[in-house]
Amino acid sequence: MKRAHQPDPEELRNTMADKPMAQQAAQAVPSGGAVRRASLSVHIMRFRELGLLGFVVLLALLVQWRNPSFLTLENINDLLRNAAILSILALGMMLVIVTRGIDLSIGATLALSGMITALTVSANPGMHPMAALLLGTAIGLACGSLLGWFVARLGILPIIATLGMMNVFRGLTFTISGGKWVSAHQMPDSFTGIATGSILGINTLIFIAIVAYAVFHYFVNHTRTGRQIYAVGSNPEAAVISGIPKERLLWLVYAIMGALSGLCGVLWVAKFASAQGDTAMGYELTVIAACVLGGVSIAGGVGKVSGVLVGSLLIGMLNNALPLLNVSPFWQTAIQGGIILLAVLANVWVKRSVDRNHLLRRRI
């Protein structure tokens, strides 16, 4: 029933060969046991993140065994600080992917907003850091809105629109900076303090990420607009027929993604105390990988805030742990890829065995 007209590799799944397990749960119990069934299926849904979380914990223990400095407070703080930007971007990307889209331009948007903000701050050292954050976010928002307009109104496929704008934004960054970098000495301490300072005893970056997660959790699960975004991703045709403002929501999703990229641009520049033209080049693929690890379905409609969090943490952990393990630099990429592959496959195996158990339990 899912997207009858839309060619979709996912659709193969819906053939009789492998039906969603909840359905099997539904048939397993005769009518009357509705409540029991629901709780069962709810548990299975949770299982995904749990499985991944288990993997993360296992990996953490393994690393800890090899290098005891891994699970120190300081290292965990470093890890989270480094994963903060990734995890914020992954939130926006989750929404984009939920609507069956993809955004390849975020690295470029991030660089553009970071560069403009850095230039502004270096010209006006007195600028309040909050103003810098707002400026960056606004620039990202503008970029994202433009993209959203292309996707929602002109109907350009997201992969093309964002690929094109990736080039444009990147080119603009180079042009605006005139080939120069903005360096640490040009940035006032108040600005770089965005990344080093702390709020309520938590590093600002981590704090911002936590706030972003809280806001997103609320937005996605407890507001109409949030749920409608999922509806659009789940079945765009149905969404149109039932009067959901699909175009506006698509636009909103890209605008949010842009705003987050803009915000992260400022954070990035503040964190590294340097703005360059090639900042975060290719970073979009890492962000997408985090989403995918976190169980966001490329086919749309599926994706959870908690999953994205775990996915980003896993990637953040890999980046943090491999240098600690004294792995040869030449092996790092391969190992990283291998672990991601393993995590994804393990997820599938677990899911399949759960399915099989359900089938076995069915009464015929």
Binding site: W181, A273, D278, L322
Partner: protein, 344 residues
Amino acid sequence: AACGGNNNSGNTGNSGASGTEGNSSGQAEAKDDTPKKHAIIFKNAGNPYGEKMIEGFREAMAELGHEVIAKAPDQPTAEAQIQIIEELIAQKVDSIAIAANDSDALEPALKKAMDRGIKVLSLDSAVNANSRLVHVNQADPERIGRTLIQAIHEMIGGEGQIAILSATSQATNQNIWIEWMKKELENPVYANIELVKVAYGDDLRDKSVSETEGLLKSYPDLKGIIAPTTVGIAAAGKVLTDKGLKGQVQLTGLGLPSEMAEYIESGVCQWMYLWNPIDVGYLAAYAADALVKGDITGAVGETFKAGRLGEKSIVRDGEDGTQIMLGDPFRFDQSNIAEWKNVY
């Protein structure tokens, strides 16, 4: 049907037969003063270091009255530089000065250029001896390597663990410098210094930061970090500053004054080195002009006048290459950083 690459030796690196004589063929070498077209290719666009180099190149060419074509690909890859070389060949430029993204991979393309009578030289980051007439070397790799070890030795008081934070694992320059550093360390003077690791930050900010943090955690007794790359040293400076390790872990290496001013002024990095990229470009321009005019051919012993830099001579570079030395690396410390930080 022609084909590139007449490379017949089997070893890597700077090898191969004489690349110079056979190529300076044909072309009329009348010493005319008509304006020529000189091209410079940098590694990638949007790199202030490269911009400065190009600035120096332009400055010299303006003095000489020639036209400059300055190019850089959007990404630092050899593939993109090959394409640019093709475009320059088509425009029939007179010389190409290139800061290479890969020492070997440009060989067929540059040979094609030389076959068409274009004078090819490399600057900053060399191509192998086969694919150039001469290399304009910003500083002697041996001097850089040894100087950096000497510097860290002095900073940490002659004893303790040190680590190197490099660019990518295949960056040619860095690898040569690291080789020299290791050679220098063999000197008994450094018996108490232990090089614990060479980490690679890939010239990416985030990766360099993670790698630095990893070093600090894996080697709690680490006394010093040498980062012979501009991105790496700035990232390391930032990490040391943020973690309040000033004075506990020393930092030196090669960095841009503008990027490092903050850390040199604060003392996180007591001093570091770099050459003047403007002069590198400037020197390359005079060398290119001399090559085109036929004043030099790239052979050892030849000399030419390089504007404000005075008389320069061509010296041997390794087995079979030749190079022009700019001079020693320049030391930046608290006394002079203020005047340089706004230059480049």
